[in-house]
Symmetry: C2
Subunit: 761 residues, 2 copies
């Protein structure tokens, strides 16, 4: 058995010793270097360039501007392609934009012999603009007088959705309620802060463009490059080496199309394009700031009768994943809890001039859960019942079927997760003990729950392919379009393949790098889909492969293949004893003079199912009221992600997500001034928590066996980042009685709230 | 139709612009560098090393000697593996040899931070030897008193074979002959002189060894590294980039095992190992010097009654391909001409201390044809009949079946080839015109014919695998274990795939580089096998792939797949009109929400057939008798290689081979002194012909359609190098009446012969 064991990461040694090769390690020295010239206004039009001084910098090879770039609008979101134009991503970007929509927009690019020359020249490019007022908030952008950022999007509304469910209207339901409560909850824009900035290099071979890039989605990058440059997709090859984190920002096709175009414009000379930390923060993607207005009608026992949610997402300058994210957030309202009578959802995504929101771990759910779970505590408080009780009364049960998507709850350990968290944090004692505190330092416990889908079915295509290749010693390579992005994918894929093949994991060699020329198609790492969807492709392909090996062995042994099995690296006969050495079968298949064949197997699994993961976060905090400072005393996440393929890696995944959740809860935010300029575009001013800011992170699991998962498993990648914000906010409510309804819960904000509540002067 | 067109080489632009990446281009700067320490004696034993001075050179990281190397004997020949130990290559090499058998033997290796430090230190390694007498010739080596070079090989005979065919003994046949003639013919050792010297680099990833190498046979390199180091073959990954020529020298596993061991001994640090030109000449492989003693019995009309051939091959210090090469040479005697009564063959391969013979374009046949075709002219002269006539009376006919191998003559254009050459060179006029010349400058015409097998069946395994992968635009990648080695393989593979798929060649993207982790198994480039054997795998896989595409299209169109065909990039219906765009089918297969699948196909073709190519060389020369100098006035090769996949590339292949044949005929030879030291280990002293030495090379073809070839094609890679030597020697005989029976026909040798013949004093 390989699944369920905490084997060492297959890439541990190479990564720890620095031997693992990342994009920049592979870029040959002496390559040309591209440097993006960025707009110094957030909203306007480039009228002209003066390139004279820039071109005079020694080492400058070429400067290309928005006037040179093809007039092709393309999308950047890393979604599977849809053959239905109505379901395709918004195409609102160009390689270089004349119409500037964010501060730092890409308007030109310098190509030079080295980084220094490129940067010097980029600073010397002179630009004349026509400037329009900057739109920082959705409210500004929706104003009648606001300049329109994109054609076809009046009042800058990218998309608006209204959805009503249930047999009654909200008003009808409210009439029967014991309590109708309304609250506003707001989340801030934050950035992924992956260690490795976006970096790629491109060159041409045999008339085709090759791009080596730090991406989560090589096959999608290939497609978007084709769209952006307007060439057939088969003329592009994308290679993905190891990557230093992505968290969704590399589920976006950021600079690969520009890089591809640069080499193309230089007749195929290799060009590297690295985006600095500052550029990454202002010019790539963020977690959308979404504000929610929630009104709930509940009965006396806390049963939800009806809810109305009105949410607005600040999209920033470009559509990216756009409305998909707020819609994922809205889904959480109809899935996590069921309203007996009515649910009304209204969502808008609005273009502004701040940095564009895109995919980020959790894809709208961290925002939704902050709002929803804060709101649930507000309801509990008003009703005078325990926060756990109100959740238990309303949360999703086994067998639930989402009415609009058909997604079914195939397994749930949510109730057990809650119970484990409750016991760990000593909920019942502490909820009592921390009542009626006085003094300037107080404590509280809070919690939040969530559910999370696994992959994107049925919203989008879910598919994965796998190829397995035999070696002479009976070991195999497993080749996948799915990507290792630091999460341990390669390790769990290895375990899955070993499990089904009946091999030891050391005899399964995962091909870590993807190359769209030869790698089986898979849409990539996002939506916590890979262990589930790719896992199914691995299992199916391994079954086919194993049967081929057994058939070949049966031919050698002149027996029925059904009498053979491959277990623990051994081919066993009916009697359970080794019938023939696996290596002998492999050698015979490779070198037989009678019946030679290279045993390989390749299959696609088109996945038409989905399932829910669950989890809870519990936090105990201490708050110093005069300082406005929260100290997290204890924090735990308990997850039901089905069977854990590798418990230790699962725990590490949760640690990372909790850390991200803590930053989101307490410190991180992107600050824009009224010109939509990002004020903290670096890791000094942007308060990413460090190890010193991070308490011990407790992790526990409830291992359900999901019948739809290839190995009983379901999503785990994104969930850990979700519950932290609400759990801490609710602990703060418990400690102080003060409801802080926006993130981050930083001292500035807390002091304001405590003053307003009269706790301090 | 793609086959038969002279499309541009797919790698032409990249190679001409210098964009194509070779091994050394890919090696990251700053890699450690290995430098082999070579023995300064040819025969003996290393007693001890003094490394003190060498280790003191700044930058030296480690020195490993033959005392550190594993005590594992391994083979180096690039043959397919045989599971039958009796059929495996001789294992007589170690990574580093304590028992020294050639001058320049690998006895230690310095690893340093750069080339300069490594070379300096290598020169400072002090070695104490026990020295034995050097054996330069097989006669010396077979002497009773000669020191034995390898255990188990008494009198240094690597192998000896005797074969008798026919219904009578030679003596019986000779009794009925009009003429019994005996002659001795000898060929010299020459070197391949590929532009790119052997170079590789190695590193480790995930506990496995990766070797990037300039090789013709990546899958075999992997296997031999495993054997040499004694680790499972699946723990090794070999990558082959573009290579700058091999000609058989890179059908040998030369330094990859040592390179693999170096990185292994350094804990996985990357190490590059480049073998200089001088080292390549003395320490890699050569074309065997083989001497032949031929006695023929013929009737009055020139019909061959019986022959006896006794041949000895000078193997040099290590077995390499060894006896296989002289046996291939011996085969030519039983295939090209049939003896009515008897054929007796006796072949010996003898270890000596000169540089080791190995595979080189033609694999023994250039030697055999020099001997055999010189001999045929000697017979014709003695009988007073035309050299063409004696050949026409005896050469292989359609339907011939080799009695020992079963190889059948499926097609032959030999008679037409002879006719074409005869006309081109104005044979009949000139044979007459150049009779009875006097004076110091005379002219002559000569010719030679040959046959050549296609691949190694049934001597060894013949198999090839192919994988085809669909892109969204309907283009495909073709992935092969077969290798582009400069011969244009990638281009003709592209054409073959395009032909069967019904695609334009520009929509077929060949994956040029091989990576044993993911590349389908194929034994590689040698034996002129790839267009034939790999061609069958391409055709078979393309048929499977095309059917998958048509099946998918039929599903979309709800029609019978048998009503569809893919022609000229278009899916045609019964009515011969486009039924659906190929790109639409590809897009639907990639992105269908109903039935998604990544269309790929992978198959192995286990080839159990072989066929003969044929050809002739005709030369007209002028010889300046006092100068001993031959000027080639006109030369043509006419080949029957079946259908030409790409006529222009075929012509280029013949040009290259003819040039190689000219060097062999007129100038090239490796000169060893009595200590077995190579005297001309560089391209100044070793007389490789340059463009200035090369006359216009005429090429013509007779295009038979071979029924066993995948596209009617048969071997072409090696044949062009074969007939030159004998054709020029026979022209010399015609011009002067002097039979020079050894190569090269250089001035020193000609002067000697002319003196002996009394033409000069």
């Amino acid at each position: 058995m390989s699944v369920g064991k905490s084997i060492l990461r297959v890439d541990a040694y190479d990564k720890v010793t620095g031997r693992a090769m990342y994009t920049d390690d592979l870029a040959a020295p002496g390559m040309l270097v591209g440097k993006v010239v960025r707009s110094t206004i957030a909203n306007g039009l480039v009228k002209s360039f003066d390139l004279q001084e820039a071109l005079a910098v020694p080492g400058v090879v070429k400067i290309l501007t928005c006037f040179d770039a093809p007039a092709i609008d393309f999308p950047t979101a890393g979604h599977p392609w849809s053959t239905d134009p109505g379901h395709q991503d918004v195409q609102d970007r160009r390689l270089l934009n004349r119409r500037v929509r964010i501060h730092g927009d890409d308007i030109a690019v310098v190509i030079a012999e080295d980084e220094v020359a490129a940067s010097r020249a980029a600073r010397l490019v002179k630009v004349e603009y026509e400037e329009y007022p900057a739109l920082v908030t959705p409210e500004q952008a929706m104003a009648e007088s606001a300049p329109q950022l994109h054609e076809n999007y009046p009042r800058n509304i990218l998309k608006e959705t209204t959805l009503s469910m249930g047999d009654a209207s909200f008003e009808q339901a409210a009439g029967k309620a014991a309590l109708v409560h309304q609250g506003n909850y707001a989340t801030q824009a934050v950035q992924h802060c992956h260690i490795e900035v976006p970096v790629s290099y491109a060159y041409m071979e045999k008339g085709r463009i090759v791009v080596v890039s730090s991406t989560q989605i090589p096959h999608i990058v290939r497609r978007v490059i084709g769209q952006a440059i307007g060439i057939p997709w088969g003329k592009i090859r994308v290679i993905k080496p190891y990557i230093g984190g992505g968290f969704g920002n590399k589920q976006e096709v950021l600079y690969e199309p520009l890089n591809a175009w640069l080499t193309y414009m230089l007749g195929g000379r290799p060009v590297k394009l690295e985006i600095s930390r500052e550029e990454t923060m202002l010019g790539t993607r963020t977690r959308h700031a979404i504000s929610f207005d929630i009104t709930s009608a509940v009965d006396r026992e806390g049963r939800l009768l009806a809810r109305r949610v009105d949410a607005i997402s600040n999209q920033g300058g470009y559509a990216s994943h756009g409305h998909a994210i707020i819609m994922n957030a809205m889904n959480e309202f109809k899935m996590l809890y069921q309203d007996e009578m009515a649910l009304e959802l209204h969502a808008r995504t609005v273009y502004t001039n701040i940095a564009s929101g895109g995919a980020m771990r959790g894809y709208g759910i961290p925002q939704a859960i902050f709002a929803l779970e804060s709101h649930m505590d507000d309801l509990a408080l008003k009703l005078g019942i325990d926060p756990i009780e109100i959740r238990t009364k309303n949360h999703m049960q086994l067998g639930f079927v989402d009415k609009t998507t058909g997604i079914t709850c195939h397994s749930t350990g949510l109730a057990e997760c809650i119970q484990k968290g409750r016991e760990y944090i000593h909920w019942d004692e502490k909820r009592k003990a921390y009542q009626n505190q006085t003094g300037s330092v107080r404590r509280g416990v809070g919690m939040a729950i969530f559910c999370y889908k696994t992959g994107v079915y049925p919203i989008s295509l879910e598919t994965a392919s796998c190829r397995i290749v035999l070696n002479q010693d009976g070991s195999v390579q497993v080749q996948l379009g799915a990507t290792e992005i630091g999460q341990g994918g390669d390790t769990v894929f290895t375990q899955m393949a070993a499990q089904t093949l009946g091999l030891h994991p050391e005899n399964v060699h995962i091909v870590s790098s993807q190359d769209t020329d030869v790698t089986p198609f898979d849409t990539g790492a996002y939506a916590s889909r890979q262990t589930y969807v790719t896992g199914k492709a691995i299992r199916q392909t391994a079954e086919v492969f194993k049967q081929k090996v057994l058939d070949y062995a049966a031919g050698m042994l002149k027996c029925d293949p059904l009498d053979l099995d491959l277990v623990d690296n051994k081919i066993l006969g009916k009697d359970g004893k080794e019938a023939i050495a696996l290596e002998d079968v492999a050698m015979e298949a490779f070198y037989s003079l009678d019946k030679q064949t290279h045993i390989t197997a390749e299959t696609t699994f088109h996945c038409k199912d989905n399932t829910f993961s669950f989890g809870v976060g519990f936090a105990e905090i201490e708050v110093d009221i005069p300082l406005g400072k929260i100290t997290v005393l204890d924090i735990i996440n308990v997850h039901d992600s089905g069977v854990l393929i590798n418990p230790q890696l699962a725990q590490a995944q949760v640690h990372g997500g909790m850390s991200m959740g803590l930053g989101y809860a307490l410190a991180e935010q992107m600050l824009f001034d009224d010109k939509a300029r990002l004020l903290n575009d670096n890791l000094l001013d942007y308060k990413l928590p460090t190890a010193l800011d991070t308490p011990e992170l407790a992790v526990d699991f409830v291992e359900t066996v999901d019948p739809s998962g290839p190995y009983g498993n379901k999503s785990l990648g994104e969930p850990p980042a979700i519950p932290g914000g609400a759990a801490i906010r609710n602990a703060l409510l418990h400690a102080t009685g003060v409801a802080v309804n926006s993130l981050p819960l930083n001292p500035q904000k807390l002091i304001e709230h405590f003053k307003a509540a009269g706790l301090i002067d």
